[in-house]
Protein backbone atom coordinates (compact mmCIF):
# COMPACT_ATOMS: atom_id res chain seq x y z
CA UNK A 1 0.00 0.00 0.00
CA UNK A 2 2.84 2.33 0.84
CA UNK A 3 4.21 2.12 -2.69
CA UNK A 4 0.86 3.10 -4.13
CA UNK A 5 0.88 6.24 -2.02
CA UNK A 6 4.34 7.11 -3.24
CA UNK A 7 3.06 6.84 -6.78
CA UNK A 8 0.09 9.02 -5.96
CA UNK A 9 2.41 11.73 -4.73
CA UNK A 10 4.25 11.75 -8.05
CA UNK A 11 1.35 12.56 -10.33
CA UNK A 12 0.77 12.55 -14.09
CA UNK A 13 3.61 10.08 -14.72
CA UNK A 14 1.10 7.34 -15.34
CA UNK A 15 -2.60 6.69 -15.19
CA UNK A 16 -3.89 6.55 -11.64
CA UNK A 17 -5.14 3.20 -10.40
CA UNK A 18 -8.15 2.57 -8.19
CA UNK A 19 -6.11 2.48 -4.99
CA UNK A 20 -4.29 5.69 -5.89
CA UNK A 21 -7.57 7.56 -6.09
CA UNK A 22 -8.82 6.08 -2.83
CA UNK A 23 -5.64 7.00 -0.97
CA UNK A 24 -5.09 10.40 -2.56
CA UNK A 25 -5.21 13.41 -0.25
CA UNK A 26 -8.48 14.58 -1.80
CA UNK A 27 -10.50 11.39 -1.41
CA UNK A 28 -8.85 9.76 1.60
CA UNK A 29 -11.42 11.25 3.99
CA UNK A 30 -14.21 9.55 2.04
CA UNK A 31 -12.28 6.30 1.73
CA UNK A 32 -12.19 6.16 5.52
CA UNK A 33 -15.96 6.55 5.61
CA UNK A 34 -16.83 3.83 3.08
CA UNK A 35 -17.56 1.09 5.65
CA UNK A 36 -19.74 3.44 7.70
CA UNK A 37 -21.65 4.66 4.66
CA UNK A 38 -22.25 1.09 3.51
CA UNK A 39 -23.51 0.24 7.00
CA UNK A 40 -25.90 3.18 7.02
CA UNK A 41 -27.21 2.29 3.59
CA UNK A 42 -27.70 -1.36 4.47
CA UNK A 43 -29.21 -0.92 7.93
CA UNK A 44 -31.00 2.42 7.64
CA UNK A 45 -31.87 3.23 4.05
CA UNK A 46 -33.00 -0.23 3.01
CA UNK A 47 -35.25 -0.79 6.07
CA UNK A 48 -36.68 2.69 5.62
CA UNK A 49 -37.65 2.11 1.99
CA UNK A 50 -38.86 -1.35 2.94
CA UNK A 51 -41.18 0.12 5.60
CA UNK A 52 -42.41 2.92 3.41
CA UNK A 53 -43.21 0.40 0.68
CA UNK A 54 -45.05 -2.01 2.96
CA UNK A 55 -46.90 0.71 4.84
CA UNK A 56 -48.90 1.23 1.62
CA UNK A 57 -49.56 -2.47 1.13
CA UNK A 58 -51.13 -5.32 2.98
CA UNK A 59 -48.84 -8.22 3.52
CA UNK A 60 -49.13 -11.50 5.34
CA UNK A 61 -46.97 -14.59 4.75
CA UNK A 62 -48.27 -16.71 1.91
CA UNK A 63 -50.69 -14.08 0.64
CA UNK A 64 -50.18 -11.71 -2.28
CA UNK A 65 -49.16 -8.12 -1.55
CA UNK A 66 -51.96 -5.67 -2.33
CA UNK A 67 -51.61 -1.92 -2.65
CA UNK A 68 -54.02 -0.20 -0.25
CA UNK A 69 -52.84 3.40 -0.18
CA UNK A 70 -53.11 5.02 3.24
CA UNK A 71 -55.43 2.34 4.58
CA UNK A 72 -52.82 1.02 7.06
CA UNK A 73 -52.25 4.46 8.52
CA UNK A 74 -55.98 5.09 8.75
CA UNK A 75 -56.49 1.77 10.48
CA UNK A 76 -53.75 2.10 13.12
CA UNK A 77 -54.61 5.72 13.91
CA UNK A 78 -58.29 4.85 14.32
CA UNK A 79 -57.56 1.82 16.47
CA UNK A 80 -58.31 3.90 19.57
CA UNK A 81 -57.94 1.10 22.08
CA UNK A 82 -54.35 0.40 21.00
CA UNK A 83 -52.60 3.34 19.38
CA UNK A 84 -53.41 6.28 21.65
CA UNK A 85 -53.02 4.42 24.95
CA UNK A 86 -49.67 3.11 23.67
CA UNK A 87 -48.55 6.61 22.78
CA UNK A 88 -49.74 7.86 26.16
CA UNK A 89 -47.92 5.04 28.00
CA UNK A 90 -44.74 5.86 26.10
CA UNK A 91 -44.93 9.51 27.15
CA UNK A 92 -45.70 8.57 30.74
CA UNK A 93 -42.57 6.44 30.86
CA UNK A 94 -40.54 9.14 29.10
CA UNK A 95 -41.59 12.01 31.39
CA UNK A 96 -41.54 9.91 34.56
CA UNK A 97 -38.06 8.51 33.96
CA UNK A 98 -36.58 11.85 32.91
CA UNK A 99 -37.97 13.58 36.01
CA UNK A 100 -36.76 10.93 38.45
CA UNK A 101 -33.36 10.51 36.80
CA UNK A 102 -32.63 14.24 36.62
CA UNK A 103 -33.78 15.14 40.15
CA UNK A 104 -32.23 12.14 41.84
CA UNK A 105 -29.13 12.27 39.65
CA UNK A 106 -28.58 15.92 40.56
CA UNK A 107 -29.03 15.24 44.28
CA UNK A 108 -26.50 12.39 44.30
CA UNK A 109 -24.07 14.31 42.07
CA UNK A 110 -24.17 17.23 44.53
CA UNK A 111 -23.68 14.80 47.39
CA UNK A 112 -20.65 13.13 45.80
CA UNK A 113 -19.10 16.37 44.52
CA UNK A 114 -16.39 16.61 47.16
CA UNK A 115 -13.18 14.89 48.13
CA UNK A 116 -13.67 12.09 50.60
CA UNK A 117 -12.05 8.84 51.62
CA UNK A 118 -13.00 5.98 49.34
CA UNK A 119 -14.56 8.25 46.73
CA UNK A 120 -13.43 6.05 43.85
CA UNK A 121 -14.96 2.94 45.42
CA UNK A 122 -18.26 4.74 46.02
CA UNK A 123 -18.36 6.04 42.47
CA UNK A 124 -17.43 2.66 41.02
CA UNK A 125 -20.25 0.99 42.95
CA UNK A 126 -22.74 3.63 41.79
CA UNK A 127 -21.75 2.87 38.20
CA UNK A 128 -22.71 -0.81 38.39
CA UNK A 129 -26.47 -0.64 37.58
CA UNK A 130 -25.63 1.07 34.31
CA UNK A 131 -23.45 -1.78 33.08
CA UNK A 132 -25.61 -4.73 34.05
CA UNK A 133 -27.90 -6.03 31.35
CA UNK A 134 -31.30 -4.24 31.37
CA UNK A 135 -32.94 -7.63 31.04
CA UNK A 136 -31.30 -8.97 34.22
CA UNK A 137 -32.10 -5.76 36.09
CA UNK A 138 -35.74 -5.96 35.06
CA UNK A 139 -36.00 -9.64 35.96
CA UNK A 140 -34.55 -9.14 39.44
CA UNK A 141 -36.85 -6.17 40.09
CA UNK A 142 -39.74 -8.23 38.82
CA UNK A 143 -38.87 -10.75 41.56
CA UNK A 144 -38.30 -8.11 44.27
CA UNK A 145 -41.67 -6.50 43.53
CA UNK A 146 -43.77 -9.69 43.46
CA UNK A 147 -46.98 -9.48 45.48
CA UNK A 148 -46.63 -12.49 47.81
CA UNK A 149 -43.00 -13.38 48.09
CA UNK A 150 -41.32 -10.21 46.81
CA UNK A 151 -38.91 -8.68 49.28
CA UNK A 152 -40.25 -5.14 48.98
CA UNK A 153 -43.81 -6.04 49.91
CA UNK A 154 -42.67 -8.33 52.72
CA UNK A 155 -40.44 -5.59 54.07
CA UNK A 156 -43.17 -2.93 53.94
CA UNK A 157 -45.71 -5.34 55.40
CA UNK A 158 -43.53 -7.09 57.97
CA UNK A 159 -41.65 -4.11 59.40
CA UNK A 160 -43.95 -1.13 58.84
CA UNK A 161 -47.27 -3.03 58.76
CA UNK A 162 -48.28 -1.31 55.53
CA UNK A 163 -50.73 -3.05 53.21
CA UNK A 164 -49.12 -5.07 50.41
CA UNK A 165 -49.10 -3.33 47.05
CA UNK A 166 -49.82 -5.11 43.78
CA UNK A 167 -46.81 -3.67 41.93
CA UNK A 168 -47.56 -5.40 38.64
CA UNK A 169 -51.29 -4.65 38.73
CA UNK A 170 -53.03 -2.37 36.28
CA UNK A 171 -52.44 0.90 38.10
CA UNK A 172 -48.96 0.34 39.48
CA UNK A 173 -47.25 -1.56 36.65
CA UNK A 174 -46.23 1.55 34.74
CA UNK A 175 -44.94 3.14 37.96
CA UNK A 176 -42.86 0.01 38.59
CA UNK A 177 -41.46 0.16 35.06
CA UNK A 178 -40.57 3.82 35.52
CA UNK A 179 -39.01 3.00 38.86
CA UNK A 180 -36.77 0.18 37.68
CA UNK A 181 -35.73 2.00 34.50
CA UNK A 182 -34.81 5.09 36.49
CA UNK A 183 -32.98 2.93 39.00
CA UNK A 184 -30.81 1.60 36.21
CA UNK A 185 -30.22 4.94 34.45
CA UNK A 186 -29.88 7.42 37.32
CA UNK A 187 -26.13 6.60 37.48
CA UNK A 188 -25.83 7.95 33.93
CA UNK A 189 -27.22 11.33 35.07
CA UNK A 190 -25.06 11.19 38.19
CA UNK A 191 -21.86 10.71 36.23
CA UNK A 192 -22.57 13.28 33.55
CA UNK A 193 -23.61 15.89 36.12
CA UNK A 194 -20.74 15.03 38.45
CA UNK A 195 -18.25 15.49 35.63
CA UNK A 196 -19.91 18.85 34.91
CA UNK A 197 -19.88 19.96 38.55
CA UNK A 198 -16.18 19.19 38.88
CA UNK A 199 -15.29 21.32 35.89
CA UNK A 200 -17.21 24.44 36.98
CA UNK A 201 -15.09 27.57 37.63
CA UNK A 202 -14.51 27.96 41.35
CA UNK A 203 -14.15 31.76 41.59
CA UNK A 204 -17.79 32.51 40.77
CA UNK A 205 -18.88 30.32 43.67
CA UNK A 206 -16.39 31.93 46.04
CA UNK A 207 -17.70 35.35 45.06
CA UNK A 208 -21.25 34.21 45.74
CA UNK A 209 -20.26 32.91 49.17
CA UNK A 210 -18.52 36.18 50.02
CA UNK A 211 -21.67 38.06 49.01
CA UNK A 212 -23.60 35.94 51.47
CA UNK A 213 -25.76 34.12 48.92
CA UNK A 214 -27.69 31.16 50.28
CA UNK A 215 -26.92 27.65 49.03
CA UNK A 216 -30.27 27.40 47.27
CA UNK A 217 -29.75 30.77 45.57
CA UNK A 218 -26.25 29.79 44.37
CA UNK A 219 -27.57 26.50 43.04
CA UNK A 220 -30.47 28.11 41.18
CA UNK A 221 -28.58 31.09 39.78
CA UNK A 222 -25.11 29.64 39.18
CA UNK A 223 -24.95 25.85 39.14
CA UNK A 224 -28.14 25.13 37.22
CA UNK A 225 -27.54 27.59 34.32
CA UNK A 226 -23.94 26.43 33.93
CA UNK A 227 -25.01 22.80 33.83
CA UNK A 228 -27.91 23.36 31.44
CA UNK A 229 -26.05 22.06 28.32
CA UNK A 230 -25.28 18.83 30.12
CA UNK A 231 -28.84 18.50 31.38
CA UNK A 232 -30.04 18.90 27.80
CA UNK A 233 -27.58 16.26 26.59
CA UNK A 234 -28.98 13.87 29.18
CA UNK A 235 -32.53 14.74 28.12
CA UNK A 236 -31.68 14.27 24.43
CA UNK A 237 -29.91 10.92 24.76
CA UNK A 238 -32.39 9.55 27.26
CA UNK A 239 -35.35 10.63 25.10
CA UNK A 240 -33.94 8.66 22.18
CA UNK A 241 -33.26 5.61 24.33
CA UNK A 242 -36.46 5.70 26.37
CA UNK A 243 -38.62 5.73 23.27
CA UNK A 244 -36.97 2.46 22.30
CA UNK A 245 -37.61 0.83 25.70
CA UNK A 246 -38.04 -2.93 25.26
CA UNK A 247 -36.17 -5.16 27.72
CA UNK A 248 -37.95 -3.92 30.89
CA UNK A 249 -41.31 -4.61 29.28
CA UNK A 250 -40.26 -8.04 28.04
CA UNK A 251 -38.98 -9.03 31.47
CA UNK A 252 -41.97 -7.81 33.47
CA UNK A 253 -45.43 -7.14 32.08
CA UNK A 254 -44.91 -8.13 28.43
CA UNK A 255 -47.08 -5.24 27.35
CA UNK A 256 -49.89 -6.02 29.75
CA UNK A 257 -51.35 -4.00 32.63
CA UNK A 258 -51.45 -0.73 30.68
CA UNK A 259 -47.73 -0.67 29.87
CA UNK A 260 -47.90 -1.29 26.13
CA UNK A 261 -45.75 1.30 24.37
CA UNK A 262 -45.69 2.11 20.67
CA UNK A 263 -42.65 -0.08 20.07
CA UNK A 264 -44.29 -2.95 21.87
CA UNK A 265 -47.32 -2.65 19.59
CA UNK A 266 -44.95 -2.89 16.60
CA UNK A 267 -43.30 -5.94 18.14
CA UNK A 268 -46.71 -7.58 18.67
CA UNK A 269 -48.10 -6.71 15.26
CA UNK A 270 -45.01 -7.70 13.28
CA UNK A 271 -43.50 -10.63 15.14
CA UNK A 272 -46.64 -12.22 16.55
CA UNK A 273 -49.25 -11.47 13.87
CA UNK A 274 -46.74 -11.02 11.02
CA UNK A 275 -48.75 -8.08 9.71
CA UNK A 276 -46.04 -6.14 7.91
CA UNK A 277 -48.38 -3.48 6.52
CA UNK A 278 -49.64 -2.21 9.85
CA UNK A 279 -46.27 -2.78 11.47
CA UNK A 280 -44.58 -0.63 8.83
CA UNK A 281 -47.16 2.13 9.22
CA UNK A 282 -46.63 2.11 12.98
CA UNK A 283 -42.82 2.14 12.57
CA UNK A 284 -43.01 5.16 10.30
CA UNK A 285 -45.21 6.99 12.81
CA UNK A 286 -42.89 6.02 15.65
CA UNK A 287 -39.86 7.20 13.68
CA UNK A 288 -41.49 10.56 12.99
CA UNK A 289 -42.36 11.15 16.64
CA UNK A 290 -38.80 10.32 17.68
CA UNK A 291 -37.26 12.59 15.08
CA UNK A 292 -39.51 15.51 16.04
CA UNK A 293 -38.78 15.10 19.75
CA UNK A 294 -35.05 14.61 19.27
CA UNK A 295 -34.92 17.59 16.93
CA UNK A 296 -36.61 19.90 19.46
CA UNK A 297 -34.18 18.89 22.18
CA UNK A 298 -31.28 19.12 19.72
CA UNK A 299 -32.26 22.73 18.90
CA UNK A 300 -32.50 23.58 22.59
CA UNK A 301 -29.09 22.04 23.13
CA UNK A 302 -27.53 23.97 20.27
CA UNK A 303 -29.01 27.16 21.71
CA UNK A 304 -27.69 26.39 25.17
CA UNK A 305 -24.24 25.73 23.72
CA UNK A 306 -24.42 29.04 21.85
CA UNK A 307 -24.09 27.44 18.40
CA UNK A 308 -27.37 28.96 17.14
CA UNK A 309 -29.35 31.93 18.39
Amino acid sequence: MVTYVAEAEAPILKKKGFWDVLLSEKYFRWTLLIPLLVTLAVFMLYPMFFSIYYSFNTFAPGKPTIFVGLENFRYVLHDVRVFWPALFAMFKILVGCLAVELVFGMLVALLLNREFKGQNVVRGLCLLPLLISPLVVSLVWNYLLQYDYGLVNQFLNGIFHLPKISWWGTNMAIVSIIFLTSWQWTPFSIFVLLAGLRSLPRDAFEAATVDGASNWYTFRRLTLPMLSPLILIIVMLRTMWLMRIFDPLYATTRGGAGTETLDWVIFRVVFMYFDLGQGSALSIISLFITIILAFIVFRLLMRALGVIK
Binding site: L32, F116, R123, V136, V140, Q154, P187, A251, L287, I291
Partner: protein, 273 residues
Protein backbone atom coordinates in the same frame (compact mmCIF):
# COMPACT_ATOMS: atom_id res chain seq x y z
CA UNK B 1 -23.21 20.62 64.44
CA UNK B 2 -19.65 20.25 63.20
CA UNK B 3 -19.56 16.50 63.88
CA UNK B 4 -23.15 15.96 62.77
CA UNK B 5 -22.55 17.01 59.17
CA UNK B 6 -20.02 14.32 58.19
CA UNK B 7 -22.25 11.74 59.88
CA UNK B 8 -25.24 12.84 57.80
CA UNK B 9 -23.08 12.83 54.68
CA UNK B 10 -21.95 9.27 55.28
CA UNK B 11 -25.46 8.09 56.08
CA UNK B 12 -26.59 9.54 52.73
CA UNK B 13 -23.67 7.94 50.85
CA UNK B 14 -24.30 4.54 52.44
CA UNK B 15 -28.02 4.76 51.60
CA UNK B 16 -27.29 5.63 47.97
CA UNK B 17 -24.69 2.89 47.52
CA UNK B 18 -26.93 0.36 49.27
CA UNK B 19 -29.81 1.31 47.00
CA UNK B 20 -27.71 0.72 43.90
CA UNK B 21 -25.93 -2.42 45.09
CA UNK B 22 -28.64 -4.33 46.91
CA UNK B 23 -30.69 -5.52 43.91
CA UNK B 24 -27.50 -6.71 42.22
CA UNK B 25 -26.40 -8.50 45.38
CA UNK B 26 -29.87 -10.02 45.59
CA UNK B 27 -29.21 -11.85 42.29
CA UNK B 28 -26.22 -13.59 43.84
CA UNK B 29 -28.04 -14.24 47.13
CA UNK B 30 -31.03 -15.78 45.38
CA UNK B 31 -28.75 -17.93 43.23
CA UNK B 32 -27.55 -19.80 46.34
CA UNK B 33 -30.97 -20.51 47.82
CA UNK B 34 -33.24 -23.51 48.04
CA UNK B 35 -36.42 -23.20 46.06
CA UNK B 36 -38.39 -23.08 49.32
CA UNK B 37 -36.43 -20.05 50.54
CA UNK B 38 -37.09 -18.16 47.30
CA UNK B 39 -40.86 -18.46 47.24
CA UNK B 40 -41.34 -18.11 50.99
CA UNK B 41 -43.71 -15.56 52.44
CA UNK B 42 -41.79 -15.24 55.70
CA UNK B 43 -39.37 -12.33 55.79
CA UNK B 44 -37.07 -14.17 58.20
CA UNK B 45 -36.61 -17.14 55.88
CA UNK B 46 -36.13 -14.81 52.91
CA UNK B 47 -33.17 -13.13 54.59
CA UNK B 48 -31.64 -15.94 56.67
CA UNK B 49 -31.27 -19.16 54.76
CA UNK B 50 -28.90 -22.08 54.43
CA UNK B 51 -27.00 -21.86 51.13
CA UNK B 52 -27.52 -24.44 48.41
CA UNK B 53 -26.24 -25.19 44.94
CA UNK B 54 -29.59 -26.56 43.80
CA UNK B 55 -30.20 -23.75 41.29
CA UNK B 56 -26.77 -24.09 39.70
CA UNK B 57 -27.28 -27.84 39.36
CA UNK B 58 -30.59 -27.17 37.65
CA UNK B 59 -29.00 -24.67 35.27
CA UNK B 60 -26.20 -27.00 34.23
CA UNK B 61 -28.48 -30.03 33.90
CA UNK B 62 -31.47 -28.62 32.09
CA UNK B 63 -30.18 -25.65 30.09
CA UNK B 64 -27.40 -25.00 27.60
CA UNK B 65 -25.89 -22.16 29.61
CA UNK B 66 -22.26 -22.97 28.73
CA UNK B 67 -23.04 -22.92 25.04
CA UNK B 68 -24.97 -19.68 25.44
CA UNK B 69 -22.10 -18.03 27.30
CA UNK B 70 -19.70 -19.14 24.56
CA UNK B 71 -22.08 -17.87 21.89
CA UNK B 72 -22.39 -14.51 23.63
CA UNK B 73 -18.63 -14.27 23.92
CA UNK B 74 -18.00 -15.17 20.26
CA UNK B 75 -20.63 -12.80 18.90
CA UNK B 76 -19.85 -9.87 21.23
CA UNK B 77 -16.11 -10.03 20.74
CA UNK B 78 -16.21 -10.38 16.96
CA UNK B 79 -18.80 -7.60 16.66
CA UNK B 80 -16.64 -5.37 18.86
CA UNK B 81 -13.60 -6.00 16.65
CA UNK B 82 -15.65 -5.17 13.56
CA UNK B 83 -17.05 -2.00 15.17
CA UNK B 84 -13.63 -0.75 16.19
CA UNK B 85 -12.14 -1.57 12.79
CA UNK B 86 -14.72 0.54 10.96
CA UNK B 87 -15.49 3.20 13.57
CA UNK B 88 -11.84 4.25 13.96
CA UNK B 89 -11.31 5.48 10.36
CA UNK B 90 -14.77 7.03 10.23
CA UNK B 91 -14.30 8.92 13.50
CA UNK B 92 -10.89 10.10 12.33
CA UNK B 93 -12.35 11.40 9.09
CA UNK B 94 -15.09 13.28 10.98
CA UNK B 95 -12.65 14.73 13.49
CA UNK B 96 -9.94 15.79 11.03
CA UNK B 97 -11.93 17.08 8.05
CA UNK B 98 -15.45 17.45 9.44
CA UNK B 99 -16.51 15.30 6.49
CA UNK B 100 -20.10 15.87 5.47
CA UNK B 101 -20.29 19.15 7.39
CA UNK B 102 -21.70 17.66 10.59
CA UNK B 103 -24.84 16.33 8.94
CA UNK B 104 -23.33 12.94 8.33
CA UNK B 105 -22.22 12.69 11.96
CA UNK B 106 -25.75 13.51 13.10
CA UNK B 107 -27.19 10.86 10.80
CA UNK B 108 -24.69 8.37 12.18
CA UNK B 109 -25.73 9.26 15.71
CA UNK B 110 -29.38 8.93 14.85
CA UNK B 111 -29.04 5.18 14.26
CA UNK B 112 -29.43 4.99 18.02
CA UNK B 113 -32.92 6.50 17.88
CA UNK B 114 -33.91 4.64 14.73
CA UNK B 115 -36.59 2.12 15.76
CA UNK B 116 -34.80 -1.20 16.10
CA UNK B 117 -37.88 -2.97 14.82
CA UNK B 118 -37.62 -1.16 11.51
CA UNK B 119 -34.29 -2.81 10.72
CA UNK B 120 -35.33 -6.08 12.34
CA UNK B 121 -38.55 -6.25 10.33
CA UNK B 122 -36.84 -5.58 7.01
CA UNK B 123 -34.16 -8.20 7.59
CA UNK B 124 -36.30 -10.82 9.29
CA UNK B 125 -37.49 -12.16 5.95
CA UNK B 126 -34.18 -11.55 4.19
CA UNK B 127 -32.42 -13.59 6.87
CA UNK B 128 -34.93 -16.41 6.48
CA UNK B 129 -34.37 -16.42 2.73
CA UNK B 130 -30.57 -16.48 2.77
CA UNK B 131 -30.22 -18.69 5.83
CA UNK B 132 -28.64 -16.22 8.23
CA UNK B 133 -31.34 -16.85 10.82
CA UNK B 134 -29.99 -18.26 14.07
CA UNK B 135 -26.35 -17.95 13.00
CA UNK B 136 -23.49 -16.21 14.75
CA UNK B 137 -22.70 -14.13 11.68
CA UNK B 138 -26.28 -12.89 11.32
CA UNK B 139 -26.54 -11.65 14.89
CA UNK B 140 -23.03 -10.23 14.80
CA UNK B 141 -24.00 -7.97 11.89
CA UNK B 142 -26.86 -6.54 13.94
CA UNK B 143 -24.63 -5.99 16.97
CA UNK B 144 -22.19 -4.20 14.71
CA UNK B 145 -24.91 -1.93 13.30
CA UNK B 146 -26.31 -1.26 16.77
CA UNK B 147 -22.97 -0.01 18.12
CA UNK B 148 -21.08 1.64 15.31
CA UNK B 149 -22.78 5.01 15.81
CA UNK B 150 -21.99 5.22 19.49
CA UNK B 151 -18.40 4.06 18.99
CA UNK B 152 -17.87 6.60 16.21
CA UNK B 153 -19.24 9.39 18.39
CA UNK B 154 -17.05 8.49 21.38
CA UNK B 155 -13.90 8.08 19.25
CA UNK B 156 -14.66 11.35 17.45
CA UNK B 157 -14.24 13.12 20.80
CA UNK B 158 -10.89 11.44 21.44
CA UNK B 159 -9.52 12.14 17.94
CA UNK B 160 -10.39 15.82 18.25
CA UNK B 161 -7.89 16.16 21.07
CA UNK B 162 -4.98 15.39 18.69
CA UNK B 163 -3.40 18.50 17.16
CA UNK B 164 -3.29 18.49 13.31
CA UNK B 165 0.24 19.99 13.48
CA UNK B 166 1.51 16.72 14.89
CA UNK B 167 0.27 14.85 11.84
CA UNK B 168 1.72 17.42 9.46
CA UNK B 169 5.10 17.06 11.13
CA UNK B 170 4.92 13.29 10.66
CA UNK B 171 3.95 13.70 7.01
CA UNK B 172 6.89 16.00 6.38
CA UNK B 173 9.04 13.19 7.78
CA UNK B 174 7.76 11.04 4.93
CA UNK B 175 4.83 9.23 6.53
CA UNK B 176 1.83 8.55 4.35
CA UNK B 177 -1.71 9.26 5.61
CA UNK B 178 -2.21 5.61 6.42
CA UNK B 179 1.08 5.51 8.33
CA UNK B 180 0.19 8.66 10.25
CA UNK B 181 -3.09 7.12 11.34
CA UNK B 182 -1.57 3.77 12.18
CA UNK B 183 1.72 4.78 13.78
CA UNK B 184 1.11 8.26 15.24
CA UNK B 185 -2.55 9.01 15.92
CA UNK B 186 -3.97 5.70 17.10
CA UNK B 187 -1.16 5.01 19.59
CA UNK B 188 -1.85 8.45 21.10
CA UNK B 189 -5.53 7.78 21.70
CA UNK B 190 -5.08 4.16 22.76
CA UNK B 191 -6.73 4.71 26.19
CA UNK B 192 -9.74 6.17 24.42
CA UNK B 193 -9.84 3.21 22.04
CA UNK B 194 -9.74 0.84 25.01
CA UNK B 195 -12.62 2.58 26.81
CA UNK B 196 -14.72 2.63 23.66
CA UNK B 197 -14.05 -1.05 23.04
CA UNK B 198 -15.09 -1.96 26.58
CA UNK B 199 -18.29 0.08 26.26
CA UNK B 200 -19.15 -1.62 22.98
CA UNK B 201 -18.34 -5.02 24.46
CA UNK B 202 -20.68 -4.41 27.40
CA UNK B 203 -23.48 -3.17 25.14
CA UNK B 204 -23.06 -6.23 22.91
CA UNK B 205 -23.03 -8.58 25.85
CA UNK B 206 -26.26 -7.06 27.22
CA UNK B 207 -28.10 -6.76 23.90
CA UNK B 208 -31.48 -8.46 23.93
CA UNK B 209 -33.89 -7.21 21.24
CA UNK B 210 -32.04 -8.48 18.17
CA UNK B 211 -30.86 -11.59 20.02
CA UNK B 212 -34.37 -12.70 20.85
CA UNK B 213 -35.62 -12.03 17.34
CA UNK B 214 -32.77 -13.55 15.37
CA UNK B 215 -31.57 -16.53 17.41
CA UNK B 216 -33.29 -19.67 18.53
CA UNK B 217 -31.07 -22.60 19.44
CA UNK B 218 -27.82 -22.65 17.55
CA UNK B 219 -26.63 -19.08 18.17
CA UNK B 220 -28.71 -18.34 21.28
CA UNK B 221 -27.04 -15.80 23.51
CA UNK B 222 -27.09 -15.78 27.28
CA UNK B 223 -29.63 -12.93 27.40
CA UNK B 224 -32.13 -15.00 25.45
CA UNK B 225 -31.33 -17.97 27.67
CA UNK B 226 -32.19 -15.87 30.73
CA UNK B 227 -35.54 -14.92 29.27
CA UNK B 228 -36.27 -18.63 28.76
CA UNK B 229 -36.59 -19.19 32.51
CA UNK B 230 -39.93 -17.50 32.19
CA UNK B 231 -41.89 -20.57 31.16
CA UNK B 232 -45.55 -20.82 30.45
CA UNK B 233 -46.47 -21.64 34.06
CA UNK B 234 -44.09 -19.81 36.32
CA UNK B 235 -40.78 -17.99 36.44
CA UNK B 236 -37.96 -20.16 37.76
CA UNK B 237 -36.38 -17.49 39.92
CA UNK B 238 -33.61 -19.65 41.40
CA UNK B 239 -32.11 -21.02 38.19
CA UNK B 240 -32.64 -17.65 36.54
CA UNK B 241 -30.63 -15.87 39.22
CA UNK B 242 -27.95 -18.57 39.09
CA UNK B 243 -27.59 -18.09 35.34
CA UNK B 244 -27.73 -14.30 35.69
CA UNK B 245 -25.04 -14.35 38.35
CA UNK B 246 -22.73 -16.00 35.82
CA UNK B 247 -23.83 -13.73 32.99
CA UNK B 248 -23.07 -10.48 34.83
CA UNK B 249 -19.50 -11.41 35.80
CA UNK B 250 -17.94 -10.03 32.57
CA UNK B 251 -19.75 -6.73 33.03
CA UNK B 252 -18.51 -6.47 36.62
CA UNK B 253 -14.95 -6.91 35.35
CA UNK B 254 -15.59 -4.20 32.78
CA UNK B 255 -16.95 -1.90 35.50
CA UNK B 256 -13.81 -2.36 37.54
CA UNK B 257 -11.75 -1.45 34.47
CA UNK B 258 -13.80 1.63 33.60
CA UNK B 259 -14.47 3.36 36.90
CA UNK B 260 -11.13 5.19 36.82
CA UNK B 261 -11.86 6.86 33.50
CA UNK B 262 -15.54 7.47 33.65
CA UNK B 263 -15.68 10.46 35.98
CA UNK B 264 -13.70 12.80 33.80
CA UNK B 265 -14.83 11.25 30.55
CA UNK B 266 -18.54 11.98 30.28
CA UNK B 267 -18.80 15.73 29.67
CA UNK B 268 -19.25 15.32 25.89
CA UNK B 269 -17.13 18.47 25.46
CA UNK B 270 -20.06 20.59 26.65
CA UNK B 271 -18.33 22.17 29.64
CA UNK B 272 -14.89 23.66 29.20
CA UNK B 273 -12.57 22.45 31.96
Amino acid sequence: MKTLKPVLFWIAVVLVVFGFIFPIAWIFITAFKHRADILTISLGKLLFFSPSLESFEHVFTYTTITKELVNSAIISVSATVLVMLFALPAAYSFARWNTGGGHLLFITLSTRMFPGFLAAMAYFFVYKEIGLMDTHLGLMLFFYYFNISFATFLLYGFFREIAPELEQAAMIDGYSRVDVLRKVVIPLILPGVAITAVFVLVFNWNEFLFSVLFTKINARTVAVGLAMFWGSIEIQWGPMCAAASMAVVPTLVAAWFMQRYIVRGLTFGAVKG
